[in-house]
Amino acid sequence: MRKHRTSHRSKGGKNFIILPIIFCVLIIGISTAIVYPSAYSFISMARFLISDGEKDFSTGYNNIFVPVEDSEGENSSGERKIVPMSQMEFPSYGEQFGELIIEDCQIEAKLFFNDGDNELNNGVGVFAGSFIPGYGKTILVAGHNNTYFNGLKYAKKGQKVKIRTSYGNYVYEINETKIVDKSDVDACNLGADYENLVMYTCYPFDELGLTPQRYFVYAKFVSGPALDDKN
């Protein structure tokens, strides 16, 4: 009788741990099998919302711009210097990677990669769908007409535009200015296969409100190192 009691109690004790665990596994498994097909679209959508780490909401910006000497744009023989891309730091979205100076227009602004609110609040920005200096393509730079690009109203043909970056200094020469409608998509040729700088801002200048026109300033390449994507 005593033996029977002992074995009975021992068996019951184990069941209080094992059975709930087995039931739990079955419950979770069955629930997943039931819910997953109907929740599949939500789960797929949720995956797009998850990033690798916690998002940084700071409105500050990273500055990778370290000024270099003017002479570093050319070789001793006066030929255009080549900068291997492997030796330069490409700017990320929102990073300051240089500065843009037009002395005749009293413009001296930080140059950012991207032209969102944060960038244009702190300087002028290269449209991320265009190119950075040295690439041999179109560089499209935007700025607000009431702040950093207010001086563009003084832009005239022949004036020099300097862009200073960590991998070299560039000079462009203004060759045209134009007023276009804000919806004019032909004002800038982003597909050009030669280096050129296009700056634009809202027009008319100093007007209160959002204006329906844009003021474009075109500049041709004068000097500065070329980026070599083969190295």
């Binding site: 069941n15 990033s51 209160l208 409100g209």
Partner: protein
């Protein structure tokens, strides 16, 4: 095998199955109750907004976005400091959320916003003696429209419209399912209780079910929190991020609470079982 021996083997299987069903129903019931207290509760949403500092952050973000617009339109930061102060984000957001839960129109009133902004700009023009040529009406209306669009986007809670659609559609079915599950749990427990000849066995099988329910419920917050998935959510603004993290942390708090209730009931049933068992063995 004799009839009595066969019955003695079949009975534990039947009661084991009933215990499993009790655990399953309690798990489903807990999920329905968590959803009822959180996802389907307007008060929970409003509390989450208040506790996560959502209103203050939305106000700050709206101010920052309008100031950026000001940089493009010739209005100084101070203009928007004063203007945003006058906008009662708390009331706007509360109306916005309420409209979703009550199923009414969810449009944010932009007419008042636009008129207030036009008035403020006119005052600014007058105070600063701005030349009429430099204050083109079309440019100002364009600015006001853009500001109004920013206002609506900032006040809107992303993805909420999608969820609200489900909230309205599933509210009544969820209520019925919750009542049904509660009834089912009581029926299963009653079957186990009243069909068992020995008192200690009644409590044993109910303990199995409660224990299974407790483990199943607690698995969900453990998996979610140990994966660290909530803080990694990628949302556009800090206000939405804080609201999301606060909302889901509070939501999973309800899972802990229901798990604690089930654990408490499990322990109670187990203690009663031991008492009954010892009494039966003692006799």
């Amino acid at each position: 095998m004799s009839d009595s021996k066969r019955k003695s083997h079949v009975k534990p299987v039947i009661y084991g199955f009933l215990s499993f069903m009790l655990g399953f129903v309690l798990f489903a019931l807990s999920i329905c109750l968590v959803l009822r207290f959180t996802f389907f509760s307007q008060d929970f949403m409003l509390d989450s907004m208040a506790n996560s500092g959502y209103y203050e952050m939305v106000k700050d973000e709206l101010g920052d976005k309008l100031k950026s617009l000001g940089h493009a339109s010739g209005l100084p930061d101070e203009f928007f400091d004063e203007f945003v102060k006058k906008i009662d984000i708390v009331n706007v957001e509360r109306n916005y959320v309420s409209s979703f839960y009550t199923g009414s129109s969810t449009l944010v009133d932009t007419n008042t916003f636009k008129q207030d902004m036009i008035d403020a700009i006119n005052v600014y023009i007058e105070e600063n003696n701005i030349d009429k040529e430099k204050a083109n009406e079309d440019s100002i209306l364009y600015l006001v429209d853009e500001a109004s669009s920013i206002y609506v986007k900032t006040v809107n809670v992303s993805f909420f419209a999608v969820f609200a659609n489900y909230i309205n559609k599933l509210d009544t079915p969820l209520r019925m399912v919750t009542i049904g599950l509660a009834a089912a749990a009581l029926v299963i427990a009653a079957i186990i209780y009243f069909t068992n000849q020995f008192k200690h066995r009644r409590y044993r099988y109910i303990t199995y079910g409660l224990g299974a329910g407790f483990l199943s419920v607690i698995v969900i917050p453990i998996v979610v929190f140990s994966s660290g998935i909530i803080p990694k959510v990628n949302l556009a603004t800090r206000s939405l991020y804080n609201l999301f993290v606060g909302y889901f942390n509070s939501m999973f708090m309800y899972f802990w609470i229901f798990a604690a209730i089930l654990l408490f009931l499990t322990v109670i049933c187990f203690v009663v079982y031991l008492q009954k068992y010892n009494k039966a063995v003692g006799n």
